[in-house]
């Protein structure tokens, strides 16, 4: 691989031991993906933040790295942690967990990383520009960045994104290159009356039929809103490790079918409608009538989503004994608070938590067994993390409000 003088210096240890290790790792990974050079980046988003997933091993390693005084060279933000930093006790998070979680976040802060603690940094905290090459971890943010913004990131894991942040470099390969961003699968969506959860079901269905390197192009007979495409993308990434999709006539690199496919011919055509949605629901999820908790906000809820929810629950009350939690970023929470929406939600008995989410919080330790969510990403991961101790049902927000809030 061809290195610049600056990169040679990093490798030789002039920027310290960890920058040297980091760039060596990026070179090795680049060799595997056929990259001929590294490329500079100014922006990254780091996963591996919740103590539930990262554990003591990651905590100890981060502390060792931070001790050397090395700092990230990118504008780097953090994915959600395992708890709301202020309201962890109210959530029921055990104290031992809270202590470890704080140490983990502190270690990242010492490295110069911004504790945005959101999986949706692209709204406010860390939004790449169109065509900008970045290093994002967090599968739902990767798919959003590539597909909806038209910025460019490969699928990064928690370690290589840290290496990219410490060096300000990534191997130039994969989705950085125009020719690798073209669709190769055509997906025809037959319905036009779809809830946000239906977009998730479609994502799970299609993702399960593709390889991680596939790029599906969706044809809709209507115009989905951004939040619907977010749910679609997060589910595609969950079931299929998909890093990018196109929506013809909607997303920035798919103005036309020709633009989406370039020189590719579709290797596969998939048709999705009610029947497929029903099949996924029956095969993968449980029927729950009396949940312990309702979760919204995976990926972290947008201002629009919370607005819609607030309008639906105004002057209503959550049924007794139920928990209804909304997860979002601090930035979004502040905005909705200023608009008076937080009050409406809290008056209805709904709690809004920041810094964390239903997937990375230790929900199996919170005594919750039956969960209802509108998110297919959450429904996909929660039972897996809880090793079957938690069951999940999926319902769109409208149905949840009808069923579990009274006037």
């Amino acid at each position: 691989m061809e290195l610049t003088g600056e990169e040679e210096k990093m490798l030789d240890g002039e920027h310290g031991e960890w920058v040297s290790k980091a760039i060596k790792l990026l070179i090795r990974l680049g060799e595997l993906s056929g990259a001929e050079k590294l490329v500079k980046i100014n922006r990254s988003h780091i996963s591996g933040v919740s103590y539930k997933t990262a554990g003591d091993a990651t905590l100890d390693m981060l502390k060792d790295i931070a001790k050397t005084g090395v700092k990230v060279k990118t504008y780097a933000t953090l994915n959600p942690a395992g708890m709301d930093a202020d309201k962890w006790q109210e959530m029921g998070v055990p104290e031992y967990f809270a202590i470890k979680q704080r140490e983990l976040i502190e270690a990242y802060i010492m490295l110069g990383v911004k504790p945005a603690l959101t999986c949706a940094p692209y709204f406010f905290e860390n939004r790449p520009k169109k065509n900008e090459i970045v290093a994002f971890a967090e599968s739902s943010a990767i798919v959003f960045t590539n597909s909806i913004i038209g910025a460019r990131t490969n699928r990064h894991g928690s370690i290589d994104v840290l290496a990219a942040s410490l060096t300000g470099r990534v191997p130039y390969s994969g989705l950085h290159l125009d020719e690798n961003r073209k669709a190769n699968v055509l997906v025809d969506v037959k319905e036009n009356e779809l809830s946000e959860s239906d977009y998730g079901f479609i994502g799970i269905f299609v993702g399960g039929r593709l390889n991680p390197s596939d790029i599906p192009a969706f044809v809709f007979n209507h115009r989905p809103i951004i939040d619907n495409l977010r749910y679609l993308g997060a589910a595609l990434a969950a079931s299929g490790a998909i890093a990018m999709f196109h929506a013809i006539g909607i997303t920035p690199e798919a103005k036309t079918k020709t633009a989406a496919f370039g020189n590719n011919e579709p290797v596969e055509k998939i048709s999705v409608g009610r029947e497929e949605i029903k099949k996924v629901k029956e095969e993968l999820f449980s029927e729950i009538d009396e949940p312990d908790a309702i979760f919204i906000g995976c990926p972290h809820a947008s201002v629009d989503e919370i607005k819609k929810l607030a309008m639906a629950v105004k002057n209503k009350d959550l049924k007794e004994g139920l928990r209804f939690w909304v997860f979002t970023s601090r930035f979004v929470k502040e905005k909705i608070e200023n608009e008076g929406l937080l009050n409406i939600l809290e008056n209805a008995g709904i709690r809004v938590y920041t810094d964390t989410c239903m997937v990375v919080a230790p929900i199996e330790e919170l005594g919750l067994r039956r969960i209802i969510t509108n998110s297919l990403k959450a429904a996909w991961y929660i039972p897996k993390f809880a090793e079957g101790k938690v069951i999940v049902d999926v319902k769109p927000i409208d149905d949840i409000v009808d069923l579990y809030l009274k006037s």
């Binding site: 090795r28 591996g48 554990g55 091993a57 100890d60 390693m61 894991g157 928690s158 370690i159």
Partner: protein, 136 residues
């Protein structure tokens, strides 16, 4: 007998030690107990074996990226293998080896898993930018 592979993480001179060979892929998160330095996966063909001081030869990695931190923890607890030799190039194992200063060779012919056994003494030598594995 000699095998060649790609050098993932360099070393100086010759590394000599006993092989610990698994024909399976390893998820360091879960399969390995870094504090005790042993393989705890009940389905592993090297279950209960200690990694310390041995040349760990296996098919490749699988599972969580946190596995890289577990390799780092092995090193920190003084339980790291002397070197890692793999058939496949798995990003998680590569990350762990580089971050933990453990010499590593990858992309070795899968035949190595049939031909050498745990206990076989191996020498790892760098030759013309390739990693050479010599059965002593």
């Amino acid at each position: 007998m000699i095998f060649y592979g790609k050098i993932v993480n360099e070393w100086n001179g010759v590394i000599k030690g006993q092989a610990l060979v698994s024909k399976k892929r390893i998820s360091f998160l879960g399969d390995i107990d870094p504090k005790r330095g042993i393989v705890r996966d009940p389905n592993s063909d090297i279950r209960g074996e200690h990694l310390k001081g041995r040349i760990l030869v296996f098919k490749g990695g699988r599972g969580s990226t946190v596995g890289a931190s577990v390799i780092y923890a092995l090193k920190k607890f003084g339980n790291a293998p002397l070197a890692i030799v793999t058939v496949e190039s798995d990003p998680v194992v590569i990350s762990g080896a580089i971050f933990s200063d453990i010499p590593m060779i990858s992309e070795v012919s899968e035949k190595i898993l049939d031909i050498i056994q745990s206990g076989t003494v191996l020498e790892l030598i760098e030759r013309r930018n390739k990693g050479l594995i010599k059965v002593v």
